[in-house]
Symmetry: C2
Subunit: 296 residues, 2 copies
């Protein structure tokens, strides 16, 4: 139990649940609210999108983005899936390390960091501002196809100007790691119980992660949607963050179908904390059902 | 921030939010899962009810009940709304005091306990097993009409055998308090910023509580539904716990309409923790939208 939380402090943003014999911990990284740009969903009107945000309980004219990583703890090993923005994000973000500590895990205990894809909010926490690794004892696992795309200078040179920034961030984060990073393939069980699932579209090499233990399976679905309260209900909607809109939608439907058919627990990076639940398919599309919170 | 949580412990079940200048704290009391009896919803089939539970992400054949009270903290005063089952509940319940402590509040700091209605899961926490008051410095506020009904021996004598148990529990809880209990009327601001709202039907005197500060208002809606994920979507469904089914449905719709029209934040006693969100009215009824979790 808790010994003491400072008066007025929020409960820590972690939430534990079991998958077979593995403990999985949802880790809140923060919330960002900003004005929603026109064209955020290129294939829907600004009004339709506003209506969908309001229907999900969020501000109609804002873009509300929540960030939630995952830790997987087995005997003697902590695997972190995505790192958040670390010390580089705007106010409201950067809470992951504090919540990891609240869950009883120090950065040095993390033995593996698994990256789903190379967008800033998933990778910037790999290093600290002083350039040192945030998780000094962790092997870094990245999707091979993501590495091949973002670390290719020819791709960077060919990219539109607005897209060049993220190529630069990838070099900032991974530049020193080329010799040591572990590049995992799709459908590879790259750590015991952790198997990658092809989830390209949002980025060229994004991977979802199936987590299996003792006959139970869940899936970290990364960014197959931005906020699932909006995009699971509107599976055809593209978001401006999606690099290949057509492939994004195909991947989204394939993975949502998989989750619904197998009744898998899923965790979304951009769902409201604790960001875990189930997918059901219905006549108009899909629905994301948050899992019931319970203490044990 | 958190100093230390024992390895493996769940995050504490409290969640803070602001209403004007008041701090409101959702307090988890526990979860109970049991086989759902046939006839739980007398005006729907067992299959329809199972379908609704499954559609809300819960087990189809179980009755999943979650319990969540509320604390309201203003300068120098902590008001607790409903007490949970205290030391008298089944395994999985009785977590309220621990979560209150995790939020930094000791029982002696509670200066008022407000009871919404006299069902066991709302009142048993008033006293400890040794008969002493759980909150030794608290005035107890109860709905006047609830007191008048349950503490009336003629009503007890006239009640069906199965209903007599709750009359007995009311005497166990309130027997010694007849001289000191504060009986509040409907529409009375019985504490600064706390105003009762008629919510009878589930029990003869149930009250919802409007909480107002600095121009903002929320409403604790008590048991106008059992789990709102089911009964907000099916506002005509009666539950076997509802003493006057017709009045229950009328009250439910009146209060859901009020919440939707005023865009009030609501807290349900039986919603999944943190049990707070918003009501929208749609073509087929209503929807409960959980509020986005955030750290500040």
């Amino acid at each position: 139990m808790v010994d003491r939380i400072a008066a007025g402090a929020q409960a820590p943003g972690f939430y534990r649940f079991k998958v077979g014999e593995i403990e999985v911990i949802a880790l809140h990284e923060g919330v960002l609210v900003r004005d929603r740009p026109t064209g955020f969903v290129p294939n829907a009107t600004h009004e339709e999108v506003g209506e969908a945000y309001a229907a999900a309980g969020m501000a109609r004219d804002k873009l509300t983005i929540t960030f939630n990583a995952l830790a997987v703890r087995t005997a003697g090993r902590v695997v972190l899936i995505d790192t958040g923005l670390g010390e580089f994000g705007p106010p409201g973000t950067g809470q992951l390390l504090g919540n990891l500590a609240a869950a009883g895990i120090q950065p040095g205990e993390v033995s593996a960091v698994v990256i789903s894809h190379f967008h800033a909010d998933h990778i910037l926490g790999v290093n600290r501002k002083d350039g040192q690794p945030t998780f000094p004892n962790a092997e870094i696992f990245v999707p091979a196809k993501e590495w091949d795309f973002w670390m290719d200078d020819a791709q960077m040179d060919a990219a539109p100007e607005a897209a060049k920034e993220n190529f630069g961030l990838c070099r900032q984060v991974f530049g020193k790691l080329a010799e040591t990073v572990r590049r995992y393939a799709w459908d590879e069980e790259f750590l015991p119980g952790l198997t990658s699932v092809r989830a390209n579209g949002h980025t060229p090499g994004m991977s979802a992660i199936r987590i299996t233990s003792a006959g139970e399976t869940m899936m970290f679905v990364a960014d197959i949607t931005n906020n699932p309260l909006v995009f699971v209900r509107h599976p055809e909607w593209q978001a401006m963050f999606d690099m290949d809109p057509v492939e994004t939608i195909a991947t989204r439907k394939r993975i949502l179908d998989m989750a619904a058919a197998e009744k898998l627990r899923v965790s979304f990076y951009h769902a409201p904390f604790p960001a875990t639940g189930y997918i059901v398919k219905n006549s108009s599309g899909y629905e994301f059902l948050p899992a019931l919170w319970h203490a044990d």
